[in-house]
């Protein structure tokens, strides 16, 4: 079944049809979400009551648009803040991890590598509760022993950042390590030969080479953090990130406001992904 093998017309057509159906299946839910963001009705469902921008810009009840809905705006801000923190941390640790595994041979390297991969095969919700349990153990101990009230270790943004960081770092490490693997070490040696110090060589030669992967890892980390639900659910405090805020709304019943937020999310993350692809083509 490759183009150079002559193939029965019917089979070929059926295969094509299957692929088309598959992509319809992929597109359908998103298309529906996007379309109903413009429905002039209280519910994101048929019948179609006419086109409106009110769910984006409306400022009167009952149709308050995204840009006038303070809790949603704040949740977007919270998500962005968490996403930035997680991305910076994950990329930093991911880069050091990549260098460690690429440049050093040491005892326990294989074991550490497997441990590094583990967060990928731990369910997100378990990661969440284990960090929740451990942080409150520590916080309780601090209180019992020194009367210290460590608010940071109670459910809240710090724990959310740590929880997301705990598994996104693995992804960042893999992305950066894959590119470092392709790096030709003799380039660094050439830099040393031309008078650069070891750190200078890494800074001027290796890091620029890694840049596409670092940016890629940053964007992927940001997107993953932004859309994370499971881990966040267990660690969240009073400041809810967007996915949690939307979840709470959805439980109460949906309005096209949620469609509008979703559409903005789609556009936002597509743009971000596009920027990343363009950057990596460069």
């Amino acid at each position: 079944m490759i183009p150079t093998i002559p193939q029965n017309r019917t089979i070929r057509a059926a295969y094509m049809a299957y692929v088309v159906l598959f992509f319809l299946y992929l597109a359908l839910p998103l298309a529906v979400v996007a379309v109903f963001a413009f429905n002039d009705s209280q519910f994101p469902s048929l019948p179609w009551e006419g086109f409106t921008w009110a769910w984006f810009f409306g400022d009167e009840r009952p149709m308050i648009g995204v840009f006038h809905e303070r809790p949603i705006l704040r949740a977007i801000g919270t998500s962005a803040f968490v996403g930035l923190c997680v991305s910076v941390l994950a990329v930093a640790v991911g880069t050091t991890n990549a260098f460690l595994f690429n440049r050093y041979e040491f005892r326990g390297r294989g074991l550490l590598y497997v441990l590094m991969l583990l967060p990928l095969v731990i369910p997100g919700i378990v990661l969440g509760i284990s960090i929740l349990v451990f942080s409150s153990t520590v916080a309780n101990a601090a209180w019992d022993m020194a009367n210290l009230d460590l608010q940071a270790l109670r459910p809240g943004l710090v724990l959310v950042v740590l929880g997301q960081f705990s598994f996104i770092t693995t992804i960042a490490t893999l992305v950066i390590a894959a590119r470092l693997q392709k790096f030709d070490r003799t380039l660094e040696e050439a830099a040393l030969n031309l008078g650069a110090g070891r750190l200078t060589a890494v800074r001027t030669i290796t890091i620029p080479f890694l840049m596409p992967a670092i940016v890629g890892a940053f964007v992927v980390a940001f997107l993953m953090s932004f859309e994370n639900f499971n881990t966040t659910l267990m660690l969240v405090g009073s400041d809810a990130p967007l996915t949690i805020a939307m979840f709470d709304r959805l439980k109460e019943g949906s309005t096209p406001l949620l469609n509008a937020v979703s559409l903005l999310l789609m556009v936002g993350s597509s743009l971000l992904a596009l920027v990343m692809i363009l950057f990596q083509r460069r």
């Binding site: 992929l26 998103l30 349990v133 960081f165 996915t243 979703s262």
Partner: protein, 285 residues
């Protein structure tokens, strides 16, 4: 030079160790310890297996546990079956621009939150949803049809949500299969099915395994899809964990549940790797 080398090593090793120990290893050990605690009075605890005993004694818990495992396995198999032909089409049949466009299209749904995807399915499947309206409009049914809140809906959502994690590794491994190897198979008298069985699938095995592991993990640990598409009584194990922790505030039992989920996923992942002769480093790294 030697000292600098040493220092560099220590500096690079420290963040890794801090991350793995403080956020992965110790929390899980602590969770295990908490799961062994039994509340005997206010603020008084004893070490026992009581939480695990209540897990085994309560049929609802066990049933939910087994059901979650079986449905996750089914979701994984379905995702593989649906995704494989598409991955093969992208990797081996499509060429040039079409190929990159299709690959990108596969990724698009996953740049948006799982919540949005699930929301989309809700709009489609619920009683007042698009499908129901369409069926009524076509005159195939008389009244509204509720397609949400059943196991099929959960399955549709799970497969949809994990598709990317199956298709991407499959495309990557299939892509590395040289066309001439398939041609050689035909040249030596092979037919489509025999080439698929003897050449394509063995070659794609690492991709199949890594895709399946990730999809299984995501299904097993999924909370959103079962709740939203399966409704209140969807009986998903993560729900039990959530309610023990957040609603009933019984962390000890919740931790035991979490540990059971961890064991289940580890056993299945380890078993899959053993059965197929793959390693975690090879499939994930």
């Amino acid at each position: 030079m030697q000292a600098a080398h040493r220092l560099g090593f220590v500096l690079l090793l420290t963040p890794l160790l801090l991350w793995l120990s403080l956020l992965i290893l110790i929390p899980h050990v602590d969770m295990f310890l908490v799961s062994l605690r039994e509340r005997v009075g206010v603020g008084e605890y004893a070490t026992s297996l009581a939480n695990y005993r209540s897990f085994i004694d309560e049929p609802l818990y066990l049933w939910t546990f087994a059901r979650t495992a079986v449905m996750s396995v089914m979701a994984t198999a379905l995702t593989l079956l649906i995704g494989f032909p598409v991955a093969y089409y992208i990797a081996k049949m499509a060429r040039g621009r079409v190929r990159s466009a299709l690959f990108l299209l596969c990724l698009v749904p996953f740049w948006v939150s799982e919540l949005v995807r699930t929301f989309g399915w809700m709009i489609l499947l619920r009683e007042t949803g698009l499908f129901s309206s369409l069926l009524q409009w076509a005159g195939l049914v008389d009244g509204p049809v509720e397609m949400l809140y059943n196991d099929v809906a959960i399955m549709v959502g799970l497969v949809y949500t994990s598709m990317l994690f199956m298709v991407v590794p499959l495309v990557t491994t299939l892509d590395s299969l040289d066309d001439s190897v398939i041609e050689a198979g035909y040249d030596l008298g092979g037919s489509g099915p025999s080439i698929l069985r003897e050449i394509v699938i063995p070659h794609a095995m690492p991709g199949i395994v890594s895709g399946s592991i990730v999809v299984f993990m995501l299904s097993l640990g999924n909370y959103l899809t079962p709740i939203m598409l399966g409704g209140k009584d969807s009986l998903w194990f993560t729900e039990l964990i959530y309610s023990q922790f957040i609603v009933r505030f019984n962390w000890e039992l919740g931790a035991a549940f979490g540990f059971m989920l961890l064991i289940l996923s580890s056993v299945i992942v380890w078993g899959t790797l053993r059965l197929t002769g793959q390693t975690l480093e090879k499939t994930m790294g």
